[in-house]
Symmetry: C2
Subunit: 529 residues, 2 copies
């Protein structure tokens, strides 16, 4: 236990409130300005280039990083051209709606069969409240609503685990009540027995026991015997209906099931509630960026095949529906996934190409399954949230929109790594079949009933992505190694940006902050001297 | 620990999923049908009274219980008249908007100064996902959205507590990370030292330690040293910005501060996320009920002054803008708060009047404070949720609607009991002044800046309510005593309904289920024999 006294902060906190305290923390070198490794971003203003003439920046890729760069450069009076291989903006920020067609790299074509108003976010689906993604939603006028990342009434499911909870779908609230209850009981007993006398004073022990009573809902004998936190069936209601609870799961079964380990998820820095999503689909952000950038600055269906540093700028060649095109600019911001940037022809130095190619790729998969009724609300009283399984489906998302509507679209699996690859190797029809087979283990027959549409995405086989996200292996020094660092500045006139060059990989926040850092670098260079 | 094996349920669960399991639980007498004390409700159909002639039911009170009763009776072909003292439907379900005026029982008048689109729910504000309240939202076409009952980035504040956290506003995520971390560390140490060898087998201990590593984010030496769960400042971002964490609070300070005890709240049966609210204000439910019941069946401004059982029905006298009126019916459903029902003139038997008057009353207060900017989002990155203090304000609600808008309305206090009475004794201006004084301790100067409107409600001084809710004291046997039970059936032709006659007191669910039970009783009587 870190026994760091912070008396000064405490005193400031007492007299001035958190606003003052945060400010003071900055002055003390504990908060943003002083300790940030990457300088805070200040948007360019329209006079930023005054007297220096127009600069043209080619933005390679119209995903979130590319569009953030273009959008911020335009604010400062730069001219930009965004080259995007796909026929839509957003990259991995992609919302699939009824009628959308998609062909993966193996040539399989799907047509999403969703009804009007139904959609799935095939890529990012949730926004933590501290991410700059929300700032862009505000600035671009994209309305937001809650993304339900946690729900006490959603299920957990573990199979191939020891004990009687093997293969039993259980409500999250019941598991949480029990693991907290037993943890409190065991710690209270150990404390009472003097096992922690070396660690705790008598006063501390008293405070700890009081906390454990509250935390674990243990009784005055420090025993956990279940209770209302676990849920009722029937629930409390009229007249004499006090509600009926079921007894707790057995302590041994419970801990050996690993069910309780799920709750570390909801405490994660970037997964703890509250979380948000754009109303109507994550791509509302992508389309708002694209509209702000302007169609005249955007080339869709522009697959980059060659990019070069030239004496005084950059030159990029791309395929277009009208044949190959060549474009020149003063600078380029290369936001292509690094493993793709590495294999497209260029005159980048060999060590830069090696650095780009040194990333490890992670796959992720999702399936959207539309049903003709919202059985998770109607039959199970689950309004949003995530049901989690240790099977190949990983996570199911109960939708965070359209409550009480006629239809609804579950995310039947959101998984990564080997599970994503497993589904990716199947045909779309097989993916649905397997997802339904797994879902039935948790929700029963209803999971296979009334399906009116589906769509599945495998990011490893998605052209222009070829992965869900990438990482920086320890072998190349992670995010402090030479490979990573070599991409943080300019390679002559070419800059790199994307979530892969951030500490928020796989989040739009990473793409946005990386793009902002690049905009800052370009502008400092242009205005230097 | 209850060591109840449930092998059969387990086996059913394995093969059939939860749907099958729940069904089987019913068959085993563990679930609704068999164990319910109050029979499940089946709505009446339009032929329910076939051949029995029209029956007229006087519904005394147009709150949620009264309107549920009227609405369900109308489905079965009954004629109803709802008598409501106020000029609006809903009772304690009340949404205050700009321009609304209100006079309390001491004669103080307020005019709410909120801007267009801003509102506060002066009464109920949140709906658990399992409550029938949501079923009525669906049936009545009232759209719902998430109520943010939990937010890792909202604050906790404790003063007059021992240790260095006294008077320091802290983020909930930091407190939770620390109390879970220390709890895990202490229990892991005790387990390693053999303190629990009598309780746990070697296998169990191993499973427990694995759980504690996940739960508490303790390291491989079973030590808690803080980490990202607590939050970052600055947060992880572009390039080399890995984020900076602050060290954990001291274990002794932390437990003695009682801060961690707050987290029992979010595990409560009816407080755990997800929760919901009607879009646009809780009174959307009240107005939807009123519209479904029909204006011709509703008398507003109808203060009941006398109600009597007669030989073949009931007779009710009420004040109206046109002078006193008398109305007769076959039955009455009396949904007035019991302490008011007891003091209005009637010919109820003395023991019934005594029973009605035997409740204990709880007060609750709320203040809505509108600001000209959403500083909690902009300055603190708090999007919804509850900031909780052990001062007289109790709870502050960050609004669950209007994210990113120009203005926003905080609930500056939601408190009960002595704190509510303290504010209730102040003038509205004094309430605002005190709420701001307390809020500044947590949020600093911003809490007193840019206030553009406010409104405060004290339920004890609200005519037709005279309390926020009531309870059944142990002295009269609680909800198993004679007093309570005497109100569950008919007193000749008069029935009683309301959340006070349920095990969901202070929830609309209690009012609704109680009203449904009464409708069932009336209809059984009418159709008997």
């Amino acid at each position: 236990m870190a026994q760091t006294r912070r008396g000064f902060l405490r005193n400031v906190g007492i007299t001035g409130g958190a606003g003052v305290m945060f400010h003071t923390m900055g002055a003390l070198g504990l908060a943003p300005a002083a300790s940030a490794e990457t300088p805070p971003f200040s948007p360019l203003d329209r006079d930023a280039l005054n007297g220096r003439g127009k600069r043209h920046v080619i933005v390679m890729g119209g995903g979130i990083a590319g569009m953030t760069a273009a959008y911020e450069l335009l604010k400062g009076g730069y001219s930009v051209t965004v080259l995007e291989g796909r026929s839509r903006p957003g990259g991995r920020n992609w919302t699939v709606r009824g009628g959308d067609t998609y062909t993966d790299m193996s040539g399989q074509t799907q047509r999403a069969g969703f009804s009007k108003g139904q959609y799935m976010n095939a890529g990012p689906g949730r926004i933590p409240q501290m991410h700059v993604t929300l700032d862009y939603c505000k600035e671009l006028g994209v309305p937001i609503e809650v993304f339900t990342n946690q729900n006490a009434d959603a299920f957990l499911y573990r199979e191939n685990v020891p004990g009687s909870l093997n293969g039993v779908p259980v409500r999250q609230r019941a598991v949480k009540a029990d693991v907290h209850g037993y943890t409190a009981e065991l710690l209270a007993k150990a404390t009472d027995q003097g096992a922690l006398d070396a660690e705790l004073t008598a006063t501390d022990k008293e405070a700890l026991i009081a906390y454990l009573r509250s935390f674990g809902a243990i009784n005055s004998s420090n025993e956990y015997v279940g209770g209302g936190r676990r849920g009722y069936d029937p629930q409390p209601g009229a007249h004499l209906e006090a509600g009926t609870t079921l007894p707790p799961y057995e302590v041994s079964d419970l801990f050996r099931s690993t069910l309780g380990n799920y709750f570390s998820f909801e405490m994660g820095f970037d997964q703890a509630m509250m979380m948000y999503q754009p109303v109507g689909g994550m791509d509302r952000i992508a389309y708002a960026f694209a509209a702000a950038i302007g169609a005249r600055n955007f080339r869709y269906n522009a697959e980059i095949v060659d990019y070069q540093n030239t004496t005084d700028g950059v030159e990029v060649v791309y395929r277009s529906p009208d044949g190959p095109k060549r474009i020149t600019g003063d600078f380029a911001v290369n936001t292509m996934p690094p493993h793709i940037a590495a294999k497209v022809r260029s005159n980048l130095p060999a060590e830069i190409v090696t650095a780009l190619g040194s990333v490890s790729r992670t796959n992720a998969g999702k399936i959207g399954i539309e049903y003709d009724r919202r059985w998770w609300e109607e039959d199970f009283r689950i309004y949003g949230g995530i049901t989690n399984a240790n099977t190949n489906i990983g996570n199911m998302w109960h939708p965070s929109y359209g409550y009480h509507g006629d239809r609804g679209t579950m995310i039947g699996y959101y998984n990564t790594g080997a599970n994503a690859n497993f589904y990716g190797a199947l045909t779309p029809a097989q993916r649905l079949e397997e997802a339904v087979r797994q879902g039935r283990k948790i929700f029963g027959d209803v999971y296979g009933t009334g399906i009116t549409g589906s769509f599945s995405q495998d990011w490893a086989s998605a052209k222009f992505s070829e992965a869900a996200w990438v990482g920086w292996p320890t072998a190349v020094g992670g995010r402090t190694g030479t490979a990573y660092r070599s991409l943080l500045g300019a390679t002559r006139n070419i800059y790199f940006a994307g979530d892969h060059l951030s500490h928020a990989i796989a989040w739009q926040h990473g793409a946005m902050t990386s793009a902002r850092a690049t905009v800052q670098q370009i502008h400092e260079r242009v205005t230097a001297g």
